[in-house]
Symmetry: C2
Subunit: 333 residues, 2 copies
DNA sequence: CTGAAAGCGCTTACAG
DNA sequence: CTGAAAGCGCTTACAG
C-alpha cells in the first residue's frame, strides 16, 4: 500500500488540505507548518498519485508529441528539444510514433487517449491538410510542418518556400545551371511547398525548370536519396547540383556520388534541409538549411501551454521558425 | 463536460457495470447487449478516462523508457523499437531523457512519477552500478546496458566483452597490429567492459596492449571520436586500425581520417559498435557490431510486463542480446 | 448474465 | 490560516 496524502497529514498532525497546500505551494502557510509537513513527507517518502490528481484537476501535465518516426534524426533532435523545453516548465512529453500510418494519425486527430494528456504537438505526414484543418479535438492541438490549408489550429513552421528559394539561389550563385531537386513527392505538403521555392529561384535566375530533374522518390530516407541520385546520374545530361528536400536524402545522394567516383562539389554540389548532426560530420560536410530547433521547441511548447491554460489569444497562432543557410563543404569544398 | 461511462449506460439502457464489461472485453455478454452498448459508445463518441481507470486499477498501461539522450541515433533507434514492441501489447511508452544527469537518474531510481507508470526500462550512464543495484523502486525496473554489479534487477544486454573480442579479432585477422581503442572512459561500465574484450583479443593474438593507444575521450559522440583520432594521428607511431566503442565515435574518427587524407581501410581500418543507420550509408560504410535491436526491444518489454503482472519468475532475469559483426568497407574496402 | 454501491487518492468549494 | 466532506470517473466485490 502506497503512502497517501492522509498518512502524511496524520503524521504531521494537520489536515489533508494543509498537506495539499504545501505540495501545491499555496501561499499563507506558516513556515513552521510547512516544515512540519515537509518532514512528514520526507519521513514517509510520500509521492503524490498522479492519476488521482489528474482525475480531480482535469490536468495531467502531460503533453504528447506525435511524429512519424523517432529514429529519423530530425525528429529525434526535435523530440529531444521539445522534451527539454517541456521539462523546464514541469511538463512531461509522451512521444507517439505514427510511422506515417493513416490510422495512427487519425487516432491523434480524434483526440488520442482520452483525458490523460493536456495537449498534442502533431507533425502529420499522411493525412490530407483539409482533414487536419477539420479536426475537432477535445484537447489543444498544435501543428508542426508545412502550413495547412485553412483550419483553426495553432501552427509552427519554417517558411519552406523562402528557405528553398535561398538554398536553390545559393546553388545558382555557384554558377550551377542544371540543378535537380530530390523529394518533390514528400508528404504533408513538404514536397510541393519546397518545390515551389526551388522553381521560384530558378525562374528568378532565368533558368527554365526541367521536369526530368525533379525526383519524387518514395520517402525521405537515405536510401531514397541514393536511389534518386542514381536515376539522376543515368540521365543523358546529369545535373551539376542537387537540392535535397531533407538531409537524409542528401546523405543518400552523397553516398551514390561517392560510389560513382564523382567529386562533391566539383562535379555535383549538394544542399540539404534540416541540419542534422550527421551532415555536419560527414565528409564532405553538408550545406543545408538550418531551422532553429531550440526556438521551434520553446515556442511550440509555450503556445500549446498557453492554449491549455486558456490564457492564449483567442485566434490561431502562426509562428515562423527562423533559419539560416549553413554553407559547408558540399557546396564550397 | 466529457461523456462518462454512466452516460453510455443510460443511453444503452444498461448498468455501468455492463458497459465496463463491454469495454474491457469480459466474457458472458450477449452479442445483442454488446451491440447495443457499442452503438451508444459510438453515438456519444465516448472515450474512457485513463486517469480514473488507472487510479482504480492501479495500472496505467504506461511504461517509461529512461535514456541518456534521444537524439543519439542508437537510442533513437532503440526507442523506436521499444515503442513499437510496447504498442503491440497495448502499452504506451513515455520517453524520459536523463541527459546523463545524476539528478535525473536518481529521479528514475527513486521510482519516478508516483503511481502513473507501471514500470521502467532504464539505460543508466552516470550512476554507479552499486547504487543502481541497491535501487528499491515501487515499480518494476529493468536495466539496459553493461551488466551491473549485484543487485536484483532484470537486465538485458549484449555480451560486450565477447563482442569487443570479436571486433578486435577481426582487425587482427586483417593483419593489423597497432590497434587503437577509442572510448575506454565510457560511462556505466561500457568503457571498461569493452576494453576488457579488446585487450583479451590482443592477448590471444600475442600482441601486447599499448596504453598510448587506449583513448578515453570525454563522451561518446562524433566530436569525441574526431578528437581522439587526431590525438592518435599525432602519435610518433600512429595505429593501423581503430576499434571505436560506438558508431558515433567511429564516424567522428572517419571524419578526421578523411581530413588527414588517409585511406580507410588502406591506412587505417575502423570498426564501430551499435550498427546505426548512419554507418551503413557512410562512405566508407562502417564495419560494426550489430546488436539485434528488435530482439532487445521485444524481450525487454516482455520481461518488464511479466514483472508488472507478477507472472514473471521470482528470480532476476538476465538476457543476452544476440549480435553479429557486420563487415563493411571500413575494414574491407 | 446485470444492478447498486463502495472506494481508488487526490483537490476544492464551503465553513469556521 | 485549517477542517470535514463531496466528487472527479472509473472498476470490482457483493448480491441477486
Amino acid at each position: 500500500m502506497a503512502t497517501r496524502l492522509s498518512d502524511v497529514a496524520a503524521r504531521a498532525g494537520v489536515s489533508v488540505k494543509t498537506v495539499s497546500n504545501v505540495i501545491n505551494d499555496y501561499p499563507h502557510i506558516t513556515s513552521h507548518t510547512r516544515a512540519k509537513v515537509q518532514a512528514a513527507i520526507d519521513a514517509l517518502d510520500y509521492k503524490p498519485n498522479v492519476s488521482a490528481r489528474s482525475l480531480r484537476k482535469g490536468r495531467s501535465d502531460f503533453i504528447a508529441l506525435a511524429i512519424p518516426e523517432m529514429a529519423s534524426p530530425y525528429f529525434a533532435e526535435l523530440g529531444a528539444a521539445i522534451s527539454r523545453a517541456a521539462k523546464k516548465r514541469g511538463i512531461t512529453v509522451l512521444i507517439d510514433q505514427t510511422e506515417g500510418e493513416a490510422a495512427a494519425e487519425k487516432f491523434i486527430l480524434d483526440g488520442m487517449r482520452g483525458q490523460l494528456i493536456d495537449g498534442i504537438i502533431f507533425s502529420p505526414i499522411t493525412t490530407a491538410p483539409a482533414r487536419i484543418g477539420a479536426a475537432d479535438t477535445a484537447k489543444p492541438l498544435l501543428l508542426l510542418g508545412e502550413r495547412h490549408a485553412g483550419g483553426n489550429l495553432d501552427h509552427v513552421a519554417v517558411d519552406s518556400v523562402q528557405a528553398s528559394f535561398d538554398a536553390t539561389t545559393h546553388l545558382i550563385s555557384l554558377g550551377r545551371r542544371r540543378i535537380a531537386a530530390i523529394g518533390v513527392g514528400g508528404g504533408a505538403g513538404t514536397g510541393s511547398v519546397r518545390r515551389r521555392g526551388y522553381r521560384k529561384a530558378l525562374k528568378a535566375a532565368g533558368i527554365e525548370h526541367d521536369p526530368a530533374l525533379e525526383l519524387a522518390g518514395t520517402g525521405y530516407h537515405r536510401e531514397d536519396g541514393a536511389a534518386s541520385m542514381r536515376d539522376l546520374l543515368a540521365l543523358p545530361e546529369p545535373p551539376d547540383a542537387v537540392f535535397c528536400f531533407n538531409d537524409l536524402l542528401a546523405l543518400g545522394a552523397l553516398r551514390t556520388l561517392a560510389d560513382a567516383g564523382l567529386s562533391v562539389p566539383g562535379d555535383v554540389a549538394v544542399v540539404g534541409f534540416d541540419d542534422i548532426e550527421d551532415g555536419r560530420f560527414h565528409s564532405p560536410s553538408l550545406t543545408t538549411i538550418s531551422p532553429d530547433k531550440e526556438w521551434l521547441a520553446e515556442n511550440a511548447v509555450a503556445v500549446l501551454l498557453d492554449r491549455i491554460s486558456g490564457s492564449g489569444e483567442a485566434d490561431r497562432r502562426d509562428l515562423i521558425v527562423p533559419y539560416t543557410l549553413k554553407i559547408r563543404e558540399s557546396t564550397s569544398g
